[in-house]
């Protein structure tokens, strides 16, 4: 197991290097000049040239990339062109908000997804099953921004039950959490339902019932544990996506997270911030994938046995 983890951690190096090269190339090849964007229309050619020099934009593409990379290797991700704050500070100031949003969304989609998925599978073709299936269809078809805006109109503007914006209290994340979880909730319900339907027809489940096990034990101890593997994969993937910044949700609810940081930085051609944020997200996604794989081993002893020395 440790060997597998070590190998996967080593693989992160080429992954992160590749991500940074691709992002750097895209940002360098797209039109728009950071100095002109920062200074605006009133700036003279001399002041634009002066700022370009200050920001280090005058060197060649490779020279600039190597300079950035050598900084990163020394733990320096550079300075934001726009705010003049260190990139590290910009990213980590916003990261807690993205984490709060991601965990709220994952909690909602995992808890309700697994619960309704089980219910739907156990009560297949019942009214409950039909309602759940229809609801998943609805949740996966409704665009995030529309759902968010409708909730804002209803709960913040009309009823005034919830605040529209802010990140200081847990209730600030109720509406954004629901919005960000909608698609993932639908996927988790579907995945749990399908997986459970496969498992509850299996011989060992029939055997457990024949032995006289209570239905609750059959479902939660025999069936669910085996049905959970693909669901865990899905939750892991969802977690990676959520931590990468749910751009639309952050925009709609004015949450200062990683997603909104990247959008504004891309618009401003704030290359160091975009690079820093994306490399950080790539690192995080890779680590979550690794954690998901490790978790498999604990859920399924068959997988664990593959990593045991023979």
């Amino acid at each position: 197991m440790a060997k597998m983890i070590g190998r996967r951690l080593l693989m992160l190096i080429p992954v992160l290097l590749g991500v940074s090269i691709i992002i750097y190339s895209i940002l360098s090849l797209t039109p728009g000049d950071a100095a002109t964007l920062i200074l605006g229309d009133s700036a003279t050619a001399e002041s634009v040239a002066k700022l370009r020099e200050e920001l280090g934009l005058n060197g060649g593409f490779i020279e600039r990339y190597v300079r950035w990379l050598s900084g990163v290797l020394r733990g320096d991700f550079g300075i934001s062109y726009k705010t003049r704050n260190p990139v590290f500070m910009e990213v980590f100031q916003r990261f807690p908000n993205t984490v709060k949003l991601a965990f709220t969304a994952i909690a909602i989609s995992s808890i309700f997804g697994v619960l309704f998925g089980i219910l739907s599978a156990v009560k297949q073709y019942s009214l409950i099953d039909n309602v759940v299936v229809a609801a998943t269809l609805l949740l996966s078809s409704v665009p995030d921004f529309w759902l968010g805006l409708m909730m804002i109109l209803l709960f913040a503007v009309k009823l005034k039950w919830l605040p529209l914006s802010g990140v200081d209290h847990w209730y600030n994340f109720i509406m954004p959490g629901i919005t960000a979880s909608a698609h993932y909730l639908a996927n988790t319900i579907r995945m749990t339902r399908t997986s459970m339907l496969d498992v509850i027809r299996a011989d060992y489940v029939r055997t457990a019932r024949a032995k006289g096990c209570p239905e609750r034990t059959v479902i939660f101890q025999h069936a669910l544990r085996n049905a959970l593997l693909p669901v865990v994969t899905l939750i892991g993937v969802n977690m990676g996506w959520q931590l990468g910044g749910t751009v639309i949700t952050e925009q709609v609810f004015a949450i200062p997270g990683i997603g909104s940081l990247m959008i504004t930085s891309i618009r401003q051609k704030d290359v160091p911030v975009v690079l820093g944020a994306l490399v950080f997200i790539a690192l995080l996604s890779s680590l979550i994938n690794l954690a998901t794989d490790v978790l498999y081993a604990y859920i399924d002893p068959r997988i664990k046995s593959q990593y045991v020395k023979k």
Partner: protein, 545 residues
């Protein structure tokens, strides 16, 4: 069963949408809400001061916390380098200038950190008497050295690059006086010094920041009515009242500027009662906001004027083709452009000078819209359907008017190839290189004077892709009029010079000036003392709740 279920679910979804989107059951608009917008809309040529008088004053609520929503985040607190109005708004609170604009009457300047000023005989030097007992936010007293130091540093900033060219020297005369000299007598120079980009701060603070590597974009030590408290990037910026302010402690004690880049969310936030003031209302949300109880929507005339540039440089369609340029002028129906391009929210202003700036002539008449004349002129040029490239940036501010204008020119017989480009790409290709036969843009006079509006676009010394005159506009006669306006100190003379410039431009057809847009501001009816300002130079110390 499934069918019934689907119907029930569909009904629930539609009902939820209707509940959320449904109109308010409250009365359509309060008197206070309706009055300012209507008054402003009717008064294109009048100053911005007219509106607030119409608004019914509400009783004071006694609140001391003010929340502002802005769709744009400031870039820096340091004067001289900020080009965004959101940043200027904050700088107005943190820093004072030597002289200050009067709310509602921009050209009337009142004492700020200088109590009085005196011109030298040649008009090139102004000696300012500094206000005594002014304190910086760290409690230290402002000195003449601080003023000289900060003005010099401000002049080095990118935003002040043009103004800096005027400056000859900034000197301390004695402990109470400083002298600012310009290279020539420049009538609107005091107006330049009233911009927040010439804010005064402590020399000691600046030098300490420089020595310690403190980010000056995120700290300050000015003399303004508010001091900087906190800035969470992408979230909010907070200010606190400065109790030792020389003008007396302001009534509003805490100011929070919330950053909401999504205009729709920002509008909803205002409607939900989370804020008192909102800058950046989209014209699409205008009617909804106006109909919201307790909201006052202000039509704040923009600082710039939309124009169409016809490129006469080598290799471009309008080179040596005055009749084609005139044909374009005759093909433009400005009312339609305003209606289709800005939802009718702009003010048609064919005069090149902004209605809020010195030199504006409300009685001047442009080339009339005459499609037949346009076709006749175009036919006379021997035009045989060559493609005319029209590149526009993709923001609705530019793209929508461009689509209307392209269609109007097509009706006159031009074969227009309208290319809508991403803003960054457009700036690279058109704004920086002039790679288009036609484009539309906006003048952006930094201070309210015709010289700031016109010189850079029409003087021959400003020709070339590194300057603003990228279409080879201008001639000797136009230069003489622009120079006359710049170097004269007589208002009537200056006014006439700029009228000449407008006439020459119209005769030559270099630019077609179209309209001034509106930057809407929304306040609740609790906000007292709000006077619309085209450049967003608001002083919150003058407001109350």
């Amino acid at each position: 069963m499934k069918k019934q279920l689907s119907l029930v679910l569909a009904a629930v979804m539609v009902a939820a949408s209707l509940v959320a989107c449904g109109g308010s059951s409250q009365p359509a608009a309060t008197t206070a809400a309706a009055a300012p917008a209507e008054t402003q809309a009717a008064a294109a040529a009048e100053t911005q001061a007219a509106a607030p008088a119409e608004a019914a004053p509400a009783a004071s609520t006694g609140k001391t916390d003010l929340t502002i929503i802005n769709t744009v985040e400031p870039q820096t607190l340091l004067p001289g380098s900020e080009n965004l109005s959101a940043g200027h708004l904050i700088q107005c609170q943190l820093y004072d200038t030597l002289v200050m604009e009067t709310p509602g009457a921009r050209s009337t300047l009142v004492p700020g950190l200088a109590t009085e000023w005196e011109y030298s005989e040649d008009g090139c030097t102004i000696t300012f008497t500094l206000r005594e007992g002014v304190k910086f936010h760290d409690g230290t007293e402002m000195t003449a050295d601080d003023v000289v130091f900060s003005l010099k540093k401000d002049a080095e900033g990118s935003y002040n690059a043009d103004a800096a060219k005027l400056l000859a020297s900034i000197e301390k005369v004695d402990d109470k006086h400083i002298a600012v000299s310009t290279n020539y007598a420049y009538k609107p120079f005091l107006q330049v010094l009233a911009m927040p980009s010439f804010g005064i701060y402590s020399q000691k603070w600046y030098e300490e920041c420089e020595a310690s590597g403190t980010n000056m974009a995120r700290s300050e030590n000015g003399t303004g009515a508010y001091k900087f408290a906190e800035w969470q990037s992408g979230d909010y910026l907070k200010l606190e009242a400065f109790d030792d302010y020389w003008g007396g402690a302001p009534m509003i004690k805490n100011v929070t500027m919330k950053i909401m880049t999504d205009g729709q969310t920002a509008a909803l936030s205002m409607q939900s009662g989370e804020a008192d003031v909102f800058f950046g209302l989209d014209s699409a949300d205008y009617d909804t906001m106006k109909a919201t109880p307790h909201m006052v929507v202000w039509d704040v005339l923009s600082n710039g004027t939309h124009f169409l540039a016809l490129n006469s440089t080598d290799g471009h369609f309008f080179k040596d083709n005055k009749d084609a340029r005139k044909a374009v002028q005759h093909s433009l129906n400005r009312e339609e452009i305003n209606l289709g391009g800005l939802d009718g929210t702009g003010h048609v202003t064919p005069y090149p000078v902004n209605p809020d700036h010195f030199g504006y002539d409300p009685d001047w008449q442009p080339t009339p819209f005459d499609l037949d004349k346009a076709k006749e002129l175009l036919a006379g040029t021997g035009y045989s359907g060559e493609t005319v490239i029209y590149k526009s940036a993709n923001s609705s501010w530019y793209q929508n008017p461009a689509q209307v204008m392209a269609e109007e020119m097509r009706k006159a017989g031009f074969n227009i190839d309208l290319q809508i480009m991403e803003r960054g790409a457009w700036e690279d290709d058109v704004d920086a290189k002039g790679n288009s036969d036609i484009w539309n843009y906006m003048t952006w006079g930094q201070f309210p004077d015709a010289d700031a509006d016109l010189y850079i676009y029409l003087h021959t010394s400003q020709r070339g892709i590194e300057y603003a005159n990228m279409i080879d506009a201008g001639n000797d006669e136009c230069d003489a009029a622009l120079d006359g306006g710049r170097y004269s100190v007589d208002d009537e003379e200056r006014f006439n010079y700029y009228k000449q410039v407008a006439d020459i431009n119209e005769e030559e057809g270099w630019y077609a000036f179209l309209m001034t847009g509106c930057n809407f501001a929304v306040t609740t009816d609790e906000v007292q003392g709000f006077v619309p300002h085209p450049a967003v130079f608001y002083h919150i110390k003058d407001w109350s709740l």
